[in-house]
């Protein structure tokens, strides 16, 4: 049953743009991007990066805003209803279920990681990192996660309480609604995020060479690590796929979240300019701010070779191991405050993304079952709180990684390919083009019609096939899994199947209810 009441609307356009930009700007902008750039050709990485921004990132933003606003006209705020409107076929709503499954699954583990940033910001200001080094920080992190024990943490309960606090904040914001909750959060968190990032960039670039006895350990060499181009790498297809993957992840497309936000637009509200503005805001946060903090400061304190080792350990190591050690260093005056700003910045980046992940399910329950917001948020909270227990307590067995791979990596590209084909081919490129340009404050250049119809789906299919062969197949067959982790990995798969099955059942029930009414 479609909700007979009026749907909520955004209070202001700038609030909407900040909310969607908040959805896109996440931990990846400040941690993943600099590592990817440095590892994949430095400045030369920006060539494929910008090409894919034009061929993949911006088109997908327009497609998702277009699908979302179109679905909103029919009072659908989530992918099953939106796909059903685009394609009059029984299958469509079930394909849309992927949009709910992906955002729900990512919400479960992402919010737990987000709670670590809140915890680390508190630890920073309390001076917990003053005795930590880059060698001791891995144990600090793993003891906080309950994987090992240390002098600071002997149990997981600190992490657990902060997880509860973070989820409570998320659910409260979702309960407050679009204008009073999500939009208000974006209007506070996004300017603060940019302010903190600019303060940190200024601090980093004015560091120079913190230890004059080690002249190679300088901020300039950190920037050089990211920006000096290695043109030889441009011939390597891996670099191009890395750039496509980074563009894909950074804009938070393929999740069903942008659709949900765009569904609260009025039918003639602009989407052409708003989508481009959110994409460019995300790039500003990533390329200008994100690339100017973690890697340059790491090279300045630890040197290039050590930073390479840290970066090879993944972007997570850079954020949660190297950065706290720097902020605790005696060489960085007021390090506690800069550490606090760094982790609070990550927390703001995280929470503006996680509330976006909760919104599709809330909208689905409201729009398709006529639930009030309180009941919808409580239902979501119950499912998430049960599921996250496995993530928290089985973290060391690869439970989170398994969910992240299928929902947060491979699932995104599958869903993005589905929505692009549905919108540009099944619904029809001409109708889709009209939908995206209707009410537009700018006219989308005509060349994007052809890019969205032919090139974007081809690139997505290419990425999907490559990832399937390179990673998905070995991951599915547990090729690199430690034997002791295998039962837990299967547990993660069963949990995901239960979540997906539950969503399919609810979609089926919603459409059956509708049949009875009409």
């Amino acid at each position: 049953m479609a909700n007979s009441g009026e749907r909520e609307q955004w209070g202001t356009r700038i609030g909407l743009i900040l909310a969607v930009a908040g959805n896109a700007v996440g931990l990846g902008n400040f941690l993943r991007f600099p590592v990817q750039a440095a590892q994949n050709g430095g400045g030369a990485f920006m060539i494929p990066y910008f090409i894919f921004f034009i061929l993949l990132g911006i088109p997908l933003m327009w497609i998702e805003w277009g699908i979302g606003r179109h679905g909103g006209k029919y009072k659908h705020g989530s992918a099953p209803g939106m796909f059903d409107v685009l394609w009059k076929n029984k299958l469509a709503k079930y394909l849309g279920s992927f949009g709910l499954f992906i955002s729900l699954t990512i919400l479960i583990y992402y919010t737990y990681i987000e709670s670590w940033t809140l915890g680390f910001s508190i630890f920073s200001i309390l001076g917990f990192f003053s005795n930590e080094t880059v060698q001791t920080m891995p144990n600090f992190l793993s003891s906080y996660q309950g994987v090992t024990e240390s002098n600071t943490f002997s149990t997981i309960w600190t992490a657990y309480l902060l997880m509860l606090l973070t989820f409570s904040i998320n659910f409260y914001i979702l309960y407050r609604g679009i204008a009073q909750g999500i939009e208000r959060l974006a209007k506070i968190a996004m300017p603060l995020l940019f302010l903190f990032a600019i303060i940190l960039v200024i601090r980093v670039v004015t560091l120079g060479t913190p230890d004059p006895s080690l002249p190679d350990n300088s901020v300039e060499n950190g920037f050089a690590f990211i920006w000096n181009p290695d043109f030889n790498q441009l011939g390597n297809p891996v670099i191009w796929l890395a750039a496509a993957g980074q563009i894909f992840f950074t804009l938070s497309v393929g999740m069903g979240t942008i659709h949900a936000y765009a569904s609260y637009l009025k039918p003639k509200d602009d989407i052409a300019l708003s989508a481009l503005t959110t994409a460019s805001t995300n790039e500003f946060a990533e390329v200008i701010l994100g690339a100017s903090i973690a890697i340059p400061v790491s090279v300045a304190f630890f040197g290039l070779d050590m930073t390479k080792v840290i970066a090879q350990g993944g972007s997570f190591n850079l954020g949660f191991v190297a950065m706290p050690a720097i902020f605790g260093s005696a060489h960085l005056p007021l390090g506690e405050i800069f550490g606090f700003l760094w982790f609070l910045l990550l927390f703001f980046a995280g929470i503006t993304s996680s509330v976006a992940m909760g919104q599709p399910i809330v909208a689905f329950l409201e729009d398709e079952f006529g639930m009030d917001r309180r009941k919808a948020v409580l239902t979501l909270a119950a499912v998430v709180m049960i599921s996250v227990q496995f993530v928290v307590f089985f973290l060391k067995y690869g439970f989170l990684d398994e969910m992240d791979y299928w929902a947060g990596t491979f699932g995104l590209v599958v869903f993005a390919l589905m929505e692009t084909i549905l919108f540009m081919w099944v619904f029809g490129a001409d109708k889709a083009w009209k939908e995206m340009n209707d009410g537009g404050d700018i006219k989308i250049p005509r060349i994007f019609y052809y890019i969205m119809k032919y090139i974007t789906p081809l690139i997505l299919a290419g990425i999907m096939v490559w990832w399937f062969v390179q990673n998905a197949l070995p991951t599915l067959l547990l090729k690199n899994a430690a034997p002791e982790n295998v039962p837990y990995i299967w547990g993660a798969r069963i949990l995901m199947l239960v979540l997906f099955g539950g969503i399919i059942w609810l979609v089926n029930k919603a459409w059956n209810n509708r049949k009875e009414i009409f």
Binding site: I17, G43, F50, E220, N228, P229, S280, T281, V287, D441
Partner: protein
């Protein structure tokens, strides 16, 4: 090591493109009457 000329060119180009695009977008958004 230090920044090479090519490194500076890539940094300035990338920053320039993104700053211009962001400034253009926000100029158009703020000029609109429903912001």
């Amino acid at each position: 090591m230090g920044m090479t000329t090519e490194g500076w060119i890539f940094l300035i180009l990338a920053w320039g493109v993104i700053l211009s695009l962001t400034a253009y977008c926000f100029y158009k958004v703020l000029k609109g009457n429903n912001s």
